[in-house]
């Protein structure tokens, strides 16, 4: 579904701040989320992503700034806003004393849905989450990926206008992640607005139309994954790994080979339009790295450029 530029933002935040005592978890951030878009918060642990999500989800009052969600004020209309959100928290909050299907049935009741309506939607969602075969199984023995899909199904029981997903695939194996991404992509295709946090650059690239990079409670950049990479990185990167002890003795020998050079503890990154050419030039200077990897720039490189640190430390 195309984004209507005239329609109001589903989320509108200006100078939004969250403090816990003297600690500032979110420091005056500005952002807008348009209907139908997939919007991401990318940043390392502790950047303030979850605190931001909880303010949007109306379970954490802001300490300053303005925030409207679905055109309403969380401080006053929290219950009304929550009735139209689908929330997937960082850790699964499923009831392990109930079966897969019962988790959906009971959750729908909190939104004021009738039992018959809950049952109808539960069966539909079980199908969507590919859990129909496990519908009468208790939650506890399910795999991490299944629990995650059930949590997503549960968050859809009220047919939300917007979904909040806090690190939806953290801790899952690659196969489970791809299955989950596929489900989220389908939701996006149906026009559901997705707001998600992640510290995986591949997840942000796969799912987000637009994202903000967060670091130390602030937003440090904003744009589509492509535009961020274009703006803050080069097209390609040559990653050099030297034998132990050699990297420290390089001083200056790589100078001029690339647009930008980053020295990480275990490797050197050379940013350039043509990574292969850089790799050749390195050899011409008589340097012998143990491994050379030429790849496209990613959001990881954007983050490194913006903050001087890696996303996952």
């Amino acid at each position: 579904m195309p984004i209507d530029p005239a329609s109001p933002s589903l989320i509108h935040a200006r100078a939004l701040t969250k403090r816990f005592g003297t600690f500032t978890a979110v420091d005056a951030v500005d952002f807008d989320v348009a209907p139908g878009e997939a919007f991401g918060f990318l940043g390392p642990n502790g950047a303030g992503k979850t605190s931001t999500m909880r303010m949007i989800g109306c379970t954490s009052p802001s300490s300053g700034g303005t925030l409207t969600v679905l055109g309403m004020d969380p401080a006053i209309q929290g219950p009304e806003i929550r009735s139209r959100l689908g929330v997937v928290p960082q850790a699964d909050t499923l009831d392990e004393e109930l079966t897969v299907r019962e988790n959906l049935l009971i959750y729908g009741r909190y939104f004021g849905l009738s039992r018959s309506e809950c049952a109808r939607r539960a069966d539909e969602l079980l199908d969507f989450a590919q859990l129909t075969e496990r519908r009468d199984s208790l939650v506890e023995p399910l795999s991490g990926g299944m629990k995650r899909r059930l949590t997503i199904a549960r968050s859809l029981i009220n047919e939300p206008d917007m979904m909040l997903l806090d690190e939806p695939t953290t801790g899952l194996d690659p196969q489970a992640r791809h299955l989950l991404w596929d489900r989220l992509y389908r939701l996006k295709q149906r026009g559901v607005t997705l707001v998600l946090t992640t510290h995986y650059m591949d997840e942000a690239e796969q799912l987000c139309d637009r994202l903000v990079v967060m670091d130390k409670a602030r937003i440090v950049a904003e744009g589509s994954p492509r535009s961020l990479i274009d703006q803050y990185s080069t097209r390609e990167v040559a990653e050099l790994r030297f034998p132990v002890g050699v990297q420290e003795t390089l001083d200056g020998k790589l100078d001029g080979l690339a647009d930008r050079i980053e020295h990480l503890p275990d490797r050197v990154l050379l940013y350039a339009e043509d990574g292969e050419a850089v790799a050749v030039a390195v050899h011409e200077r008589g340097l012998r790295p143990e491994t050379v990897l030429v790849r496209r720039s990613t959001l990881e490189d954007v983050f490194l450029r913006l903050t001087g640190r890696s996303l996952i430390e």
Partner: protein, 273 residues
């Protein structure tokens, strides 16, 4: 899944409806454990009344028939045990389930991600504990009646008395557990608070048998007030000393109110941080 805004949504549930949904949720989960749980609700009092009421009581009654003012030992014991087990039940129901809701499975957080407020989560939880207490107490009474340990039809008033006793402990314990990340202190509280109270609150013997210097300490025990009230109901003597009954009732209601208020407040703090 319509975009951007849907119109035909049910109204946001009222706080009362929210609490009822929480209650419904707990009841739904309980169905699976119902049979086993009900069975042990029968077995526990039966074992205690057999061993202590009939076994020990047989000796007591034979040695000093007038020791309990004309009633048998089992008639004295049963309401004490009822109030004592209500205390324990309330204590348990407000410890691990609260931990599970706020820290382990975080089901309380999931409830609050819906239109339900934190207050409704806490109130619904307390309502469920009250229901469980009523159920267990009713079963206890039935068993006591079978054992001939009930002296008056007024005993049915012992059910609300036992529920209040259990809630008096549930509120405070729940409020405390809501502030914890781990249940580390659980065993210590049980050992150093619940067990002594269970033993020395007039449950198994009248507190008049305690040395005069210690006796006032027993008056501080919430359980003692619960035991006295439940026992007066069971023996049909509630109206013999209505002021004493009222005083016990007032203490219990005050504890339920304060504990319940603290519990609601602490759950709110945790869910709306």
């Amino acid at each position: 899944m319509r975009v951007p805004v849907t119109t035909n949504r049910p109204d946001v549930p009222s706080p009362l409806a929210g609490a009822l949904h929480v209650f419904e949720h707990r009841a739904y989960a309980y169905r699976r454990a119902f049979r086993g749980s009900l069975f042990s609700s029968f077995v526990n009092p039966a074992l205690f009344l057999t061993a202590m009421g009939l076994g020990l009581g047989g000796i007591v009654n034979a040695r000093s028939p007038a020791a309990f003012g004309g009633i048998t030992y089992i008639q004295f014991l049963a309401p004490g045990l009822l109030a004592g087990s209500a205390m324990q039940q309330g204590f348990f129901e407000a410890s691990f389930p609260v931990m599970r809701g706020l820290v382990w499975n975080r089901t309380f957080h999931a409830m609050h991600a819906t239109p339900i407020g934190a207050q409704a989560v806490a109130v619904g939880t307390l309502a469920w504990i009250a229901f469980r207490l009523a159920l267990v107490s009713a079963v206890f009474m039935l068993v006591a009646w079978v054992f001939g340990a009930v002296a008056s039809p007024m005993v049915v008033l012992g059910i609300p008395a036992a529920v209040l006793t259990g809630l008096a402990f549930a509120g405070g314990m729940g409020a405390y557990m809501a502030t914890q990340r781990r249940p580390d202190k659980f065993s210590a509280i049980f050992r150093w608070l619940i067990t002594p109270l269970f033993l020395f609150s007039g449950t198994f013997f009248p507190i008049d048998s305690l040395p005069a210097q210690i006796r006032p300490i027993a008056w501080l025990s919430p359980l003692w007030h619960g035991v006295e009230l439940t026992r007066a109901a069971s023996l049909g003597t509630l109206l013999d000393d209505p002021w004493a009954a009222l005083a016990h009732l007032t203490v219990l209601v005050a504890l339920v109110a304060v504990g319940g208020w603290l519990f609601i407040r602490n759950v709110e703090r945790k869910l709306d941080a």
